[in-house]
């Protein structure tokens, strides 16, 4: 396998190379990040002040729905799969992913799936307007006709995720270089192993629930219709059985990224490596037992509320272990604050805030007040934006020199960080207050009482959006004209990926490297 990439477009269309596929995943995710971002800015523009000024309420609902779907399935998940593609084989000393052709299939399904999903915006009756959680009967009896295409888009992107996850598991379990024992694997590899397991366990459940919707809509079944003996609450149970593990699918690889970056810039080994592995595994197991914390107000019996409340709070324990380990890794380290480190430190602080608001929501009696308010929106944006998105951004800054052999501009990177940091806090921190004061989520108009908080949020969101355009510029500039990177790239870096040249050769390892 001496030869390099094929020429022209066919390189990308027909590739079996994990680096090509990783790059395609990352660029695709970046594009979806901007698409979802445009939807978000439409929402924030409408909410800039009370009253209906820019969009129709129905279109507003389409925007909230499409924003959520595109960000979750189009931006965050593919970005992590892209990182896995690039990094897992390099980190474990493998030549490529275990099943390279299936790998390319997993990727190429996505552009088709999202073209299908985005095309619903132009269909009669408009795009899905029932929220990214698509509760029945809003998504069945009262749905626009485009729901059928939404269902099929979910089906094929689910197939993509399952195949991607199978590939990652097979790679990690089977392709490690001799000497790379499980407990020597970098945490990013561990977190992805566990994430892949979660994906294979819950994506089929998502496929099941959308299939039931399809049958209810077109074939007269009554899964979610009480008149025929079914139950709309059943929808919520199945959805959240998928949905809660799904939120961990979006955060566990982020834990892995941060666990790689913090030791590098603190110049100390990661504190508590094995406890990190066990904490990740416990989070994954617990994540199957907490789903109904999204349904405290649906009318569960007391015992149900109680069990799901306690189980949810239990997740805070392994999560706390992780935060403790990151902080302890930094303690007395000789730290420097390059852009990836800035994003990672912000991750630790702000993700923890999101964890705390999660704990508040986990208190069932309190959740009766918070549920379906902007407080929930604040919570999940704190775990997803400075959580998932910041970790992805940190990963790009951290590994970009290895990918393209060139450095990004540090000053611009830091500018990006501060703009994004200020923008996101300005956007989402006020939502805690408007939410606690009672502002419901998913509405285009609101009581003037909440006007100030909303105006801040809207200003912050445009700042955050601008920061991401800068990010795009920084990445392109680095690729085109960045300063040449060294092989080690970072003074404190450790791991197999730093032992190969920058940019990493098209085929990293042709024979297994030695690990000791």
């Amino acid at each position: 396998m001496a030869h390099g990439p094929a020429h022209g477009l066919s390189r990308w269309l027909y590739t079996t190379n994990h680096k090509d596929i990783g790059s395609m995943y990352l660029w695709f995710s970046f594009a979806m990040f901007f698409l979802g971002g445009i939807f978000a800015l439409i929402i924030r523009a409408e909410l800039f002040e009370p009253g209906l000024q820019i969009v129709e309420p129905n279109f507003f609902n389409q925007m909230t729905t499409m924003h959520g779907l595109v960000m979750v399935f189009g931006a965050v998940m593919p970005a992590f799969v892209g990182l896995a593609n690039w990094m897992v084989p390099m980190m474990i000393g493998a030549p490529d992913m275990a099943l390279p052709r299936m790998n390319n299939l997993s990727f190429w399904i996505l552009p088709f799936a999202f073209a299908l999903l985005a095309s619903t915006l132009f269909m009669q009756g408009g795009a899905p307007n029932f929220g990214w959680t698509f509760y029945a009967p809003l998504s069945t009896t009262y749905a626009p006709p485009s729901v059928t295409f939404f269902i099929f888009a979910v089906h094929i992107m689910g197939a993509s995720s399952i195949m991607g996850a199978i590939n990652i598991i097979a790679t990690i379990l089977n392709m490690r270089a001799p000497g790379m024992t499980l407990m020597k694997m970098p945490l990013f590899v561990w977190t992805w192993l566990i994430t892949a397991y979660l994906l294979i366990a819950v994506m089929p459940v998502l496929a099941g629930v959308v299939t039931m919707m399809l049958m209810d809509i077109h074939f007269g079944t009554s899964f979610f219709n009480a008149a025929g003996g079914g139950d709309p609450v059943l929808f919520q149970h199945i959805f959240w059985f998928f949905g809660h593990p799904e939120v961990y699918i979006m955060i566990l690889p982020a834990f892995g990224v941060v666990s790689a970056i913090i030791p590098t810039f603190a110049r100390k080994p990661l504190f508590g490596y094995s406890s990190m592995v066990y904490a990740t595994a416990s989070i994954a197991i617990l994540s199957f037992m907490v789903w109904a914390h999204h349904m405290f107000t649906v009318g569960m019996p007391f015992i149900g509320e109680w069990v799901f409340m306690i189980a949810t709070m239990a997740i805070a324990v392994p999560t706390g272990v992780k935060v403790f380990n990151w902080v302890t890794t930094m303690y007395k380290g000789s730290m420097t604050f390059e852009t990836p480190m800035l994003f990672s430190i912000a991750f630790v602080i702000l993700f923890t805030i999101g964890g705390f608001s999660g704990l508040m929501l986990a208190i069932a009696p309190a959740d009766f007040q918070y549920h379906d308010t902007y407080f929930v929106v604040a919570h999940f944006h704190y775990v997803l934006v400075p959580g998932a998105i910041f970790s992805i951004t940190a990963a790009v800054y951290y590994w970009l020199p290895k990918w393209c052999g060139r450095m990004y501009d540090e000053t611009l990177g830091k500018t990006h960080f501060w703009l994004a940091f200020i923008g996101l806090n300005l956007t989402f921190f006020p939502m805690h207050f408007s939410g606690l004061a009672g502002m419901p989520r998913r509405i285009p108009d609101y009581n003037p009482l909440f006007a100030n908080w909303n105006m801040m949020s809207s200003i912050g969101s445009f700042l955050f959006g601008a920061a991401q355009v800068l990010f795009l510029y920084i990445v392109i500039r680095a690729i085109v004209s960045g300063r040449k990177a060294t092989d080690r790239v970072w003074e404190g870096s450790h791991g197999l990926e730093w032992t190969v040249p920058s940019p990493a050769p098209y085929h990293t390892f042709t024979t297994p490297p030695k690990v000791d």
Partner: protein, 304 residues
């Protein structure tokens, strides 16, 4: 890069058009279905086109993998990757069925008891009574003859052990259980490189699979024609047909896979005791389908 290599070097396949075509075929298939379900005339044709491309590309893909294996390109590591791949794929299938079983349990043990008691029953649903199989839906309890969501007239419930001999699901269970043994006997024969016996046992398994599908079709015809039990017969019809239907679809797949293995063995002389993963994967799938059926037999048929 396909030439010269041994266990210590890695094999990465050449560029391939198959994945992109597969992705396109998947898209066309579901896009066709979507337009079809929304009443667009060209829908069925788009679907058929997508499906045919899909079938063609799958054929090409599997042929290529088989060819690579027979050319000796697959080292032990790659073979293990295929094993992991199949194993985790089956796990994903288990979770798919889990969603439908979960729905059945939830409906039976939580939703219907709640609908059939207290204020729900008295104030909302016209004194609806919980019962399984659900013959009288809540809609019927409220609207009587005007109801839209109507239950079945008959059902597939357990006639009691004495009546099992005249009960199709019992024979289905028997057929499928026996086939799990025969596929195992085929495997044992192959391990001893007794190809003749292998072909015979595998042939019997395929025949039993087809037999099962035949009985299942009989059962569906009986349900639709004699019992008024359809997909839209309330929640009983929905869970019954979705669970048994998806299972039937998997039996079809499994039978097809085993048939392909039989043809590969008889026509092409493939498989020997140390190179038989294609067959083994198909047989795992077959055992999985069998276990799902046991779940169905217990929870859909016996306990009703």
């Amino acid at each position: 890069m396909a030439h010269h290599h041994d266990a210590s070097t890695y094999y990465v396949p050449e560029q391939s058009k198959l994945p992109l075509i597969t992705a396109f075929a998947m898209f066309l298939t579901v896009f066709g279905l979507g337009t079809w379900f929304n009443g667009v005339d060209s829908g069925p044709f788009l679907f058929a086109a997508g499906f045919m491309i899909m079938a063609g590309v799958m054929f090409a893909w599997f042929s290529q993998v088989i060819h690579e294996n027979r050319a000796g390109l697959n080292n032990a590591q790659l073979k293990r990757s295929y094993v992991w791949g199949m194993g985790w794929f089956i796990f994903s299938e288990v979770m798919f069925f889990a969603a439908f079983f979960g729905a059945l349990f939830y409906i039976r043990s939580i939703s219907l008891p709640a609908l059939g008691s207290g204020n729900n029953s008295e104030l909302l649903w016209g004194g609806f009574q919980n019962d399984w199989p659900l013959m009288t839906t809540p809609d019927m309890a409220v609207k009587g003859g005007e109801a839209v969501h109507v239950g079945p007239e008959g059902n597939m419930s357990n006639p009691g052990i004495a009546g099992w001999l005249g009960w199709l699901p019992f024979w289905n269970t028997t057929v499928l259980l026996i086939s799990s043994f025969t596929v195992h006997f085929a495997h044992t024969a192959l391990k001893k490189d007794n190809k003749k016996l292998f072909n015979i046992w595998l042939g019997i398994t395929v025949a039993l699979g087809i037999g099962f599908l035949f009985l299942q079709a009989e059962e569906y015809i009986h349900a639709y024609q004699d019992l008024g039990l359809t997909l839209s017969s309330g929640i009983y019809g929905a869970t019954f047909f979705m669970l048994t239907g998806f299972h039937g679809a998997h039996v079809t797949m499994g039978t097809f896979m085993l048939l392909v293995m039989l043809l590969r063995s008889t026509l092409k002389g493939h498989f020997n005791h140390h190179d038989c993963f294609g067959f083994e994967a198909a047989s795992w799938y077959w055992h999985f389908v069998d276990v799902v059926w046991l779940g169905l037999f217990i929870f859909v048929y016996i306990m009703s």
